[in-house]
């Protein structure tokens, strides 16, 4: 999301007309009242966001079980994680879920947005129906899909109606991740469709008309107008979808609790289990820091890629 830079006017010089005058001057007003308005929320941010971030790094360098005081052990938590087959499996499962969900998501949600951007009959009703998964609470989504993937559930009933064999989705470690991905798409396609649609509606109609007059084909118009002007939206969708999917938790906890055989023990569940079931606060923090670093690197690379490449020719 582009952040507009403050238009900063030249700061007035400190007045020399004495303290009283200075306090009523523009400078003092800006300093004082700016602080008054910002401070209440800023304090909450310091206590519950900035300090925990620093603390996460510090904890990751310690051995801490909540009962005995933290013990500094340097990078040993990270070494342990890298060598831990459970953590590697967890990282692999997360990567599978994130990539498996996001790549189709980018295309399908754009497709849905393009469709809803057309003049179609009963558009409002269709859009409301399509949007329903987004207004479901996460816990309800998890329960619905757990039931859909029941051996006699709707998914298998549908497969059998098509003459295919049913699958024990949640007990088969090869089938469970595709099942999770489908459940993810169900809620995320409508969500990102909304974001794409907002981007599409911001493109002026005149561009398409002008291009049509100049004889541009519909493919050309799509590439040179739609895709070109959607670039900021596409960047946003890519970054946000990766962050959102990498923190999948409720589904992993409620549908399978990480099973079968750890196939859905994604990193957030790994962190939760190590912190609050095994009380390995340091190890859990190290896993959080790794997740944060990976997401940060990904975001920076994306921003860099999108600023480097020129408009698609």
């Amino acid at each position: 999301m582009s952040v507009q830079v403050l238009d900063r006017k030249a700061r007035p010089r400190p007045s020399v007309r004495g303290l009283r005058a200075a306090l009523t001057s523009g400078v003092a007003r800006n300093q004082l009242w700016g602080a008054v308005f910002v401070l209440p929320l800023l304090i909450l941010f310091v206590v519950f966001k900035f300090y925990p971030m620093v603390q996460a790094f510090w904890l990751s360098l310690n051995d801490y079980d909540l009962l005995t005081p933290p013990r500094f052990i340097g990078l040993r938590n990270y070494v342990r994680l890298v060598g831990d087959p459970l953590f590697r499996q967890s990282a692999g499962a997360t990567a599978y879920y994130v990539i498996g969900t996001c790549v189709p998501l980018w295309v399908l949600s754009l497709g849905a947005a393009l469709a809803f951007n057309q003049a179609i009959p009963a558009k409002n009703i269709l859009r409301a129906a399509f949007f329903m998964p987004v207004i479901m609470p996460a816990i309800v989504v998890a329960i619905i899909w757990k039931f859909l993937y029941h051996p006699y559930g709707l998914v298998n009933t549908g497969l059998q109606a098509l003459g295919l064999a049913g699958v024990d989705w949640l007990a088969d470690s090869a089938a469970v991740m595709p099942a999770f991905i489908l459940a993810g798409e169900w809620r995320l396609i409508p969500y990102f469709m909304i974001i794409y649609l907002a981007g599409l509606q911001a493109i002026p109609h005149e561009y398409y008309e002008a291009a049509a007059i100049d004889g541009a084909s519909s493919v050309q118009r799509f590439r040179h107008i739609t895709l070109a002007l959607l670039r900021p939206t596409i960047l946003l969708v890519i970054i946000v979808s990766v962050i959102l999917t990498s923190k999948v938790f409720v589904n992993a906890l409620v549908i399978t609790n990480g099973g079968p055989n750890g196939a859905t023990r994604v990193i957030p569940l790994f962190i939760y289990q190590h912190a609050f079931t095994y009380f390995k606060m340091g190890l859990a923090s190290a896993a959080s820091v790794i997740l944060l670093l990976v997401l940060m690197i990904f975001t920076i690379v994306q921003l860099w890629l999108f600023s480097e490449t020129d408009e698609p020719a």
Partner: protein, 279 residues
């Protein structure tokens, strides 16, 4: 020839529309199945062919399920937490947004960027230290534990600041010359102009907080402090195979947000369109 070509095009369009409507319907089918299951007797849940509209709807499934747990209490807890978070956050975010938009104080830009950067920070990354802070404050299993840490959310600050940047300085300056106090300027001039983003923000925070799972799940262990999502999660754990009642509870859990969507559709959709950065 020309008419035939036109007709073909119309048929193609109609087919495309039917395919599209079919795809859209597929997104809706799981919800219909959930509702119809909630109304079936347990022994008919997996009956084939599927009864989409149960012949003899069992409305009492809802009552039985509701009474198995203290769902009334969970509902009230969710309401208390959601109203508190939404109310306090909107006020503080409006304050902060105004401060960032209209006062040139030391570190304005840096602080704003620091706050903005937390939008990219999943709670999972800081859940352990945040848990420890809340524990040290003695707030585990309390309402303040559920409310206060959640108020520190960046989206509202961003939204209010972007909007307030567009309020003309001249308007504020004029009030100042008339001798209005800074606080009065905020409440009398800035706030009344900022209703639109404030409503979007309120609807957005309401949805976020009502839906919150991870944080309450970590800090709440006492039954009478559980929020509705936690209660639903426990219900489905305990009554796994009572599918009809589990679905009834799921329907109940869905209703508050569905109603909200009905009444605030615009603000609801706009919150998502604008944010993107939050779940």
């Amino acid at each position: 020839m020309l008419t035939r070509c036109l007709m073909m095009r119309q048929i193609a369009r109609a087919l495309a529309f039917i395919a599209f409507a079919g795809i859209v319907a597929m997104f809706f089918v799981p919800i219909v199945w959930m509702i119809s299951t909630a109304l079936k007797p347990l022994d008919r849940v997996f009956a084939l062919p599927i009864e989409w509209v149960p012949a003899d709807p069992r409305w009492d499934n809802f009552v039985t399920a509701w009474n198995r747990f203290t769902f009334g209490r969970y509902f009230v807890n969710s309401l208390v937490v959601t109203i508190s978070v939404t109310g306090i956050h909107c006020v503080l975010a409006a304050f902060a947004g105004y401060g960032f938009a209209k006062y040139r104080f030391f570190g304005n830009r840096l602080l704003f960027l620091a706050i903005l950067s937390t939008m990219m920070l999943p709670i999972e990354v800081v859940i352990v230290p945040t848990f420890l802070i809340v524990r040290d404050l003695g707030w585990l299993n309390t309402y303040q534990g559920l409310v206060v840490p959640v108020i520190a959310d960046a989206f509202g600050v961003f939204l209010m600041r972007q909007f307030m940047l567009r309020i003309p300085d001249a308007l504020i300056e004029a009030a100042r010359i008339d001798g209005a106090h800074e606080v009065k300027i905020f409440f009398r001039i800035v706030l009344p102009l900022s209703w639109a983003p404030a409503v979007t923000l309120a609807v957005f925070m309401w949805r976020e907080t009502w839906d919150a799972f991870v944080w309450p799940f970590v800090i709440i262990t006492q039954n009478d402090l559980r929020t509705l999502p936690l209660g639903i999660a426990r219900f489905q754990e305990e009554f796994v195979t009572t599918y009809n009642e589990v679905m009834a509870v799921a329907v109940i859990g869905m209703i508050p947000l569905a109603l909200m969507f009905l009444f605030f559709q615009r603000a609801f959709v706009q919150g998502i369109a604008l944010s993107g950065l939050k779940e």
